[in-house]
Structure formats: structure tokens, C-alpha cells
Amino acid sequence: MSAARGTGAERRLALLLCAPAAAFMLVVAAFPIVYALWLSLHRADMRAPDQTAFIGFGNYLTVLSSPIWWDAFGVTLFVTVVSTLLELILGMALALVMHRTIVARGLVRTVALIPYGLVTVVAAFSLRYAWTQHTGWLAGASAPLTQTWSSIAIIVLAEVWKTTPFMALLLLAGLVLVPQDVLNAASMDGATSWQRFRRITLPLMKPAILVAVLFRAIDAFRIFDNIYVLTNGAHGTASVSIVAYNNLIRGLNLGIGSTLSVLIVIAIALIAFLLSRLLRSDAPDAPRAWRQR
């Protein structure tokens, strides 16, 4: 305690000790972010370096008035909402299984986590080959990866298959916190297992659920690798990250590309803000609240 307040000399020493870490963070985190912001306000194309000029919010106007951005935004939002929802449902089921397992608990939990341990690109390639016409074992004579909605369905499937275990793990952590005596008491009062789940387990788990949804939604919004491998954004399946990659890395347009990156960060910040608002208003330490009632 007293060390935290400390004397002037100690305080200086503390600052000095922190300085290298702070400087490191400034270089690797703050600089790129500020540079991206700076670039997003400029016309900056790598192939025309002498035409770089300040254009205010011109790039933002270009992006936000482009149907390409809004199409990609729609696809990204759709994939985010649908896959997070499916993962929540399946993840909860998986978490319950992992929680209730009596025999070989460690083995069950490990096996359930295998999809999450796989490299996304590898998983996506195996799905792509599986749905290649004639040669893929799931495709037969069809070619689902050449149509918009069937492609999006496969992209969602790839996401869900891959990250449901992660969701389940986060939910399991919440599940463990539900006090057994409360469940027993409810059982004594004649509550069915569904009622116990709906009325006791779910409300008590709410903070864990919201954290899990927050993590996954942020992650899903940045989706890139699955789409890159499965369709490379063809047939109207591009996500915002794919569009950013095409403009920044492939098109070498630093200005537009940085603008896209900034907009993606803003969108993610918005998602995080909305979900965390939900989290704060609904989670005043749920177990204690229940006991006081």
C-alpha cells in the first residue's frame, strides 16, 4: 500500500521502469494507428507517390457512398449475427454436455476443443475441396460455392464449426459459477429441468453469455480468412476486411485502404460499446442480486 503512494524518488523510479514498455507500445501500437488515421485523410496511392495530398474526409465520402462498401457491410453483419447466434445456441449445448459429463471429463473437453485448435485456413480449404464440383465428397454434381447464398451459408458453417468450442469454453466458465444449492432448492420446489435452466441457470450466467457474445461478435466482424479461402469475395460474398485487403494490399491504395481500416475499427468499437452497455445494465453481480430478492 505505502509503496503505491511512495516518495518522489520512488515515483520517478516507477515511471522510469515503465518507460521502456510505454515507449515500445507507442512505437508498435500508437504509431501505426495514428499513421493510418493520417493516411485516411490523404490521397495516397503507392503507384503515384508524388500525387499524395491532403483531401480531408474525401476518402470517407468515397467509401461511404460506394455500394461495394455497403454490400460488404451487409454480408459481414449478416455473417456476424447469424454465426454468433448459432454459436451461442450450440455452444451452450456443448457447455452443458461438458459440464454434466461424469466420466472422462478431461477427454470430452479436449475433444470438443479440437475444431478451435485447427488452423482456420486449413479448415476452410478442407471445406472448399469438399464442395468442389465432382471432386468434393459433399458436392456431387452441384457447385454451391458459385452462388451467393449457398456460399454465405458455407462461410457461416465454417465459422460456426470452428468457433463453437471457444464459445462453449467461455460459457462453461459461467456455468461452473451457478451454485448447485440453488438448483437443488429449485428442484425441491418442483421445478422441471427446463424451468431450472430458463429461470436460474440462464439469468445467473448472463454476464458470461454477454462476454462470450461480445468476444465472438467482434471476432466475427473481422472475418477474413474463411472468405478468402472459400470464395475470395467472389459472387457478392466479400466482407469488409476482404474489401480493405483488396484496396490496401492488392490495389496499393493506402488512402482508401486506411479509410476502410479506420471504418472497420469504428464499427467494431460500436459493436463493443453497444454490447458492453447491455452487459453493464444487466449484470450487477447477478448471484448476490438473486439472494437479496
Binding site: 507500445m25 508498435v28 460506394s66 464440383q133 492488392r250 491504395n253
Partner: protein, 416 residues
């Protein structure tokens, strides 16, 4: 032997710090860095040129990814960072204008440029210059041919029209009938469309490469593409077919026709030798009867990196890497078509490489892809506007193409 200094430090995410070191032992003296993708048998060419240099320099290859986008990304990033080790860069023929305009590759002048263009066929030669200056030297060239199965198609089609009709009747007879075509949303689709368009006499860009040249011939080419996409000849998977998928359709017996690069000949020998008896090739089908198709050239060019410390030696090394003997060696072993006119008369090559005559014929009428520093943008929007092929509406799609190409040329708007 000495060790090269370990240089590149990579900081990732601020969470971990990895030092990637390139500390392979290298011989003393000048080392010329060569950045290109790995070709089979190329190591031997490299060894020969290093032997020829007799210790004045050693060429050391840095292997780039196989796909063109991956290569370009690495080249551009290094060149934008003024990498001094980039003495020789292997460029896809579509990048010359972009790299020259950005000042990333050095021009060739005087005796060097005379040596570079000597005996070149017009197809590859057209890829070597930008603004009437030689910026790159062709190492190999490429054109697509029509591949077909003699058991299904006794007499190969001369025109697209004939081919579509043949595919229809094969389908009606319940036989393999697919026309394997690189219809995925990527560069291969642009190559296919450019061939159709140029064969109609049209062009994507104006002569000077600054404006879109969409006209009624573009509409014709779009109409043909749309007709193909909705015909029996188009497989449902055409919208996902790259070169490899197109060739797989042939190898697996689903395709009766294939429009693809000559590498498929060697691939078929390895993957499905039983089909070699019926696997044949001929000229790319015409779109206008009696007028040979004008096919799009591909291939690899070498250029000297702008930040090289040894540009003179780099030029010398390039002339060796693509010398007549080395091109011949690569044609014989790796199957890449040569760029020297005289090699097409070489009896040894003609015996070993059956496609040679057809390729030379096509190279006489071959066309480069649109020449502009913004080619990558143009290519990206063209393949996007054309996809999916089935939904092309010739008139409307042509108008959209016109607008989007113009935007791409002015680096305006968003790339899809």
C-alpha cells in the same frame, strides 16, 4: 565463406518479437538477389549462369509465392521500402507498366536494350516496353490453346459458335460436354475475356491506356460470354474454375473441351496418362469465322530493381538467365514456351514439344493485356463486373464496365 548479416526484424502485434534471420552461408564477392517464383528445373539455369559469371557475381534466388498476387505483394512492399538486395525481379507480364511508372525498375538503353530485343517474337516483345522504352526482358511467354478429346470431338471446332453447338449435341447424347474455362472471379477470367474482345477487334483500353474503350465490340464479346455461360458447355462450377479446376475437369473426364495454357499437356501426362491417347490441341477458336483469334499473352519478364547496387551486372545476369540455350533448356524440361523466334525452328524442340507450331502461329496474332500502371485495378473491376458470367446482360454490363474501368484508371472509388 562469410555469413551475411542478419537483418530483418519482425515485430508482430507488439505481443511477441521474432527475429527472422537469413544467415545462409554465401560465397564471397558480389551477390545478386533474384526475386521470382520457383520453376522446376530453374536451379540448373541458375547454376549455369553462376558458372558463366566465373566468380564476378553469384545470383541467389529468393523464392516468391506461386500465385501472382502473392508475388506482387512481396515485390511491391520490398521495392516501396527501397530494398537494395532486389537486383533482379521476375515480373508477370502485366506489371511492367506499373513498376516502370512507379520507378521501381530501371530502363534498358544502348547495347543492352539491343541485345534484349534481338530475335524476340512480337507477342513477348510487346510486354517488354513501356512508353517506348525497354524496361524488362522476356524469359518465357505463354498463350492459351484449345484442348479437346478426339474420342468425343473427331474434328476440332474452328469457332466458338461451332464449339457451343458441339457441346450441345454432346450433352444431348449424354456424353461429356463441358467446355472447361477459367471463369472464376480472378485474373484468368480477364485473360479469357480479353481474348474474346480482342478477337472481335475491340479492346478494354484506348491505345494510350488512359481511357476505357468500351464499344459495340465489347457488347459482342459479353454476349458471347453470356451465351457460353448459359449453354450446356458451361459446368455449374465455371464460376469457381481457375486453371487447376479447369484442367481437373478435363483429367476427370467431365470436359470435352478446355481453354488453357500449354502446361496442361505435361500435367495430363502425370495425372491421367491413360487420356493422352485422346487428348489433343489446336488453335484457340475464332469468334469471327475466318479471322484467327487474338489470344492474350502471359509469361515472365525479368527487370532490374531500381535500388540495385549492381545494375550493370544485373543486366548481364538477366541476359544469361534468359539466353537462347537456357530458354531451350526450360522449354524442353519445364514446358514454358520460348520468346526467341529462332527457337521455334529448332528441330530438337519441335520433336520434343508438339505444341510449338500452334503456339508460334498464335503468338503472331497475340495481344498483351491492357497496358496501364493501374492494370491491377482494371483487372479487379473487370473480373468483378463479369461475375457471375450467367448474369451478364451485354448492354448493361458494357455500360457498367465502361464506368468502372474509367474509375479504376483514375484510381477513383473503391475496388471490389
Amino acid at each position: 565463406m562469410k555469413r551475411r548479416p542478419c537483418v530483418s526484424v519482425l515485430v508482430l502485434l507488439g505481443s511477441w518479437l521474432a527475429t527472422i534471420t537469413a544467415c545462409a552461408p554465401v560465397p564471397d564477392g558480389i551477390v545478386l538477389g533474384l526475386y521470382k517464383y520457383q520453376e522446376n528445373y530453374f536451379d540448373e539455369v541458375l547454376a549455369r549462369c553462376n558458372a558463366e559469371a566465373a566468380g564476378r557475381y553469384t545470383i541467389e534466388q529468393h523464392i516468391l509465392p506461386r500465385d501472382a498476387d502473392g508475388q506482387r505483394e512481396q515485390l511491391v512492399r520490398r521495392l516501396a521500402a527501397r530494398d537494395q538486395t532486389m537486383d533482379i525481379v521476375g515480373l508477370d507480364v502485366t506489371w511492367i507498366a506499373e513498376f516502370a511508372e512507379a520507378g521501381w525498375i530501371l530502363p534498358w538503353t544502348g547495347a543492352d536494350s539491343m541485345a534484349a530485343v534481338e530475335d524476340m517474337l512480337p507477342g513477348p516483345l510487346a510486354t517488354m516496353t513501356w512508353q517506348d522504352t525497354v524496361f524488362a526482358v522476356a524469359a518465357n511467354t505463354n498463350v492459351q490453346l484449345l484442348w479437346y478429346r478426339t474420342d468425343l470431338v473427331p474434328e476440332p471446332p474452328q469457332t466458338w459458335d461451332e464449339m457451343l453447338v458441339m457441346a450441345d449435341s454432346l450433352a444431348a447424347a449424354g456424353k461429356p460436354h463441358v467446355i472447361a474455362f477459367t471463369g472464376a472471379q480472378y485474373e484468368g477470367l480477364v485473360v479469357g475475356f480479353n481474348t474474346l474482345l480482342e478477337s472481335y477487334g475491340g479492346s478494354l483500353l484506348s491505345e494510350d491506356g488512359t481511357e476505357s474503350a468500351v464499344d459495340e465490340r465489347t457488347v459482342q464479346a459479353l454476349a458471347l460470354l453470356q451465351r457460353f455461360a448459359t449453354s450446356a458447355g458451361a459446368s455449374p462450377a465455371v464460376g469457381n474454375a481457375h486453371e487447376a479446376e479447369a484442367q481437373a475437369q478435363m483429367e476427370n473426364g467431365y470436359a470435352a473441351f478446355q481453354l488453357n495454357w500449354p502446361y496442361v499437356w505435361a500435367a495430363m501426362q502425370v495425372n491421367n496418362p491413360a487420356m493422352m491417347d485422346v487428348f489433343a490441341f489446336t488453335h484457340y477458336p475464332a469468334v469471327v469465322p475466318g479471322r484467327p483469334a487474338r489470344v492474350t499473352t502471359g509469361g515472365l519478364d525479368y527487370a532490374v530493381g531500381a535500388y540495385s547496387r549492381y545494375p550493370e551486372l544485373a543486366r548481364e545476369a538477366i541476359l544469361c538467365l534468359r539466353s537462347r540455350e537456357n530458354q531451350k533448356f526450360m522449354t524442353l524440361n519445364a514446358g514454358t514456351p520460348p520468346t526467341f523466334r529462332s527457337l521455334y525452328d529448332d528441330p530438337e524442340l519441335q520433336a520434343a514439344y508438339p505444341m510449338l507450331d500452334v503456339i508460334q502461329d498464335q503468338l503472331e496474332h497475340a495481344v498483351p493485356r491492357p497496358r496501364t500502371p493501374f492494370y491491377q485495378n482494371v483487372s479487379t473491376v473487370v473480373s468483378h463486373v463479369l461475375s457471375p458470367l450467367r448474369q451478364i446482360e451485354p448492354e448493361a454490363t458494357a455500360r457498367e464496365l465502361d464506368e468502372r474501368i474509367q474509375d479504376a484508371l483514375e484510381s477513383r472509388g473503391l475496388l471490389p
